[in-house]
């Protein structure tokens, strides 16, 4: 009589209904020697499971924590490097866009002396504001509110000036002049606020 091999004996314990495996299971049921072998296999498995748990000879937590922390730091540095590269890329794109915008503005200024004059006034007022000691001049909440409102309006005008670049040449020229005049008016008001306080500029 041919007994089951170890591989066949183990296969009878696995899920599966293949005819071959079924025939091995039938054999196992009818063969006392193979059943005894199966019992020994069970005992061996039980003994393996009951082997003592081996413990590390030393406490390795500090080493683990140090390595984990080092890895976290490296990860942060890597993230910062990637963020820096992203910022550098954005700055490059912004610089290229600004140069493009500036070249469009130069074309408009050359074609319209009035616009050139308004833009020059705007620059003069900006320089005047920069020259003021704003920390000393802005002393009350009302002045701060008016200043903020004027600066918001200026930001909106600047956005519109940028958008004008998309219009056709003639419309662009007219719109640009209007917006730059508005800008000069706002800057003028801002200078007054800084010099005299909010109550003198009609807010």
């Amino acid at each position: 009589m041919t007994h089951l091999s170890m591989e066949q004996l183990l296969a009878t314990r696995e899920p599966g209904l293949e005819p071959q495996v079924r025939s091995w299971r039938d054999h196992l049921e009818n063969c006392p020697a193979c059943r005894a072998e199966s019992d020994r296999l069970d005992q061996r498995t039980a003994q393996l499971k009951s082997l003592p748990t081996l413990a590390p000879g030393r406490d390795l937590f500090l080493a683990v924590r140090e390595k984990a922390a080092r890895e976290r730091r490296l990860k942060q540095v890597r993230r910062m490097v990637f963020a820096g590269l992203a910022v550098a890329a954005s700055v490059t794109i912004a610089f290229v866009s600004l140069r493009h915008q500036a070249s469009q503005d130069r074309t408009l200024v050359a074609a319209d002396p009035e616009l050139a004059e308004v833009m020059s006034q705007s620059k003069g007022l900006e320089r005047a504001i920069e020259g003021l000691d704003q920390d000393r001049q802005v002393v009350d909440g009302r002045t701060i509110a008016v200043t903020t409102s004027l600066e918001d309006q200026l930001a909106r005008v600047d956005q519109q000036i940028e958008a004008v670049g998309l219009m056709d040449q003639q419309a662009r020229q007219q719109r640009m002049l209007k917006l730059w005049r508005e800008r000069v008016g706002l800057l003028d008001a801002l200078v007054d606020v800084h010099l005299t306080g909010a109550r003198y500029v009609g807010f």
């Binding site: 183990l10 020994r40 061996r44 081996l54 590390p56 390795l60 937590f61 984990a68």
Partner: protein
């Protein structure tokens, strides 16, 4: 082995995800022994087992965000440990499918008829066979799971298990069938 559970796993999980050292230590203390035991049962030396344990915990701390909580935390930590231990075996070029050559083992060929204790017999198996027998019989992994972790076929895992049991039976001096 499923008795190894962190009683308050839900409490430490947010801390682990935030990289809190106290939560990491709580997890380490809870699983230190079973993680080392699994690593040591697969690796041949205590040094390798210690390295595997460190790698496993660092991996757990790093990847805790991937633990969805579908199974037990210990089940997940155990799989990470087993993978690291098996990687270590591959790295150490212990990919032999037979046990170590008899001449480098600390007993002579005729000693194989002597009754060994299970610990010694287990130690004498090749890394691959020992890993398969431990993962299958003790940790309860299926042949499919073992073959995936070892990057081998299911039949490889089955034949390694059969080979291991055949050798253990002989070395343990168990009676052969009539």
């Amino acid at each position: 082995m499923d008795s190894y559970r962190l009683a308050n796993a839900e409490v430490v999980l947010p801390g682990l995800r935030a990289g809190d050292p106290a939560a990491q230590e709580a997890l380490y203390r809870a699983f230190e022994a079973p993680v080392y035991n699994l690593a040591r049962r697969i690796c041949r030396t205590t040094e390798d087992a210690e390295d595997v344990m460190q790698e496993a915990f660092i991996e757990v701390f790093r990847s805790i965000g991937q633990f969805r909580g579908d199974g037990s935390l210990w089940g997940w930590v155990r799989t990470v440990t087993a993978s690291k231990a098996l990687m270590r075996l591959r790295r150490n070029k212990y990919r032999d499918t037979d046990e170590l050559p008899e001449d480098i083992l600390p007993f002579k060929k005729e000693d194989t008829a002597l009754r060994m204790d299970l610990e010694t017999a287990l130690e004498r198996l090749s890394e691959t066979s020992r890993a398969v027998v431990w993962l299958h019989d003790v940790e309860g992994y299926t042949h499919e799971e073992i073959s995936t972790m070892m990057d081998r076929t299911v039949s490889f895992s089955k034949s390694q298990l059969a080979r291991a049991h055949t050798r253990l039976r002989r070395w343990l001096g168990e009676e052969a069938r009539q």
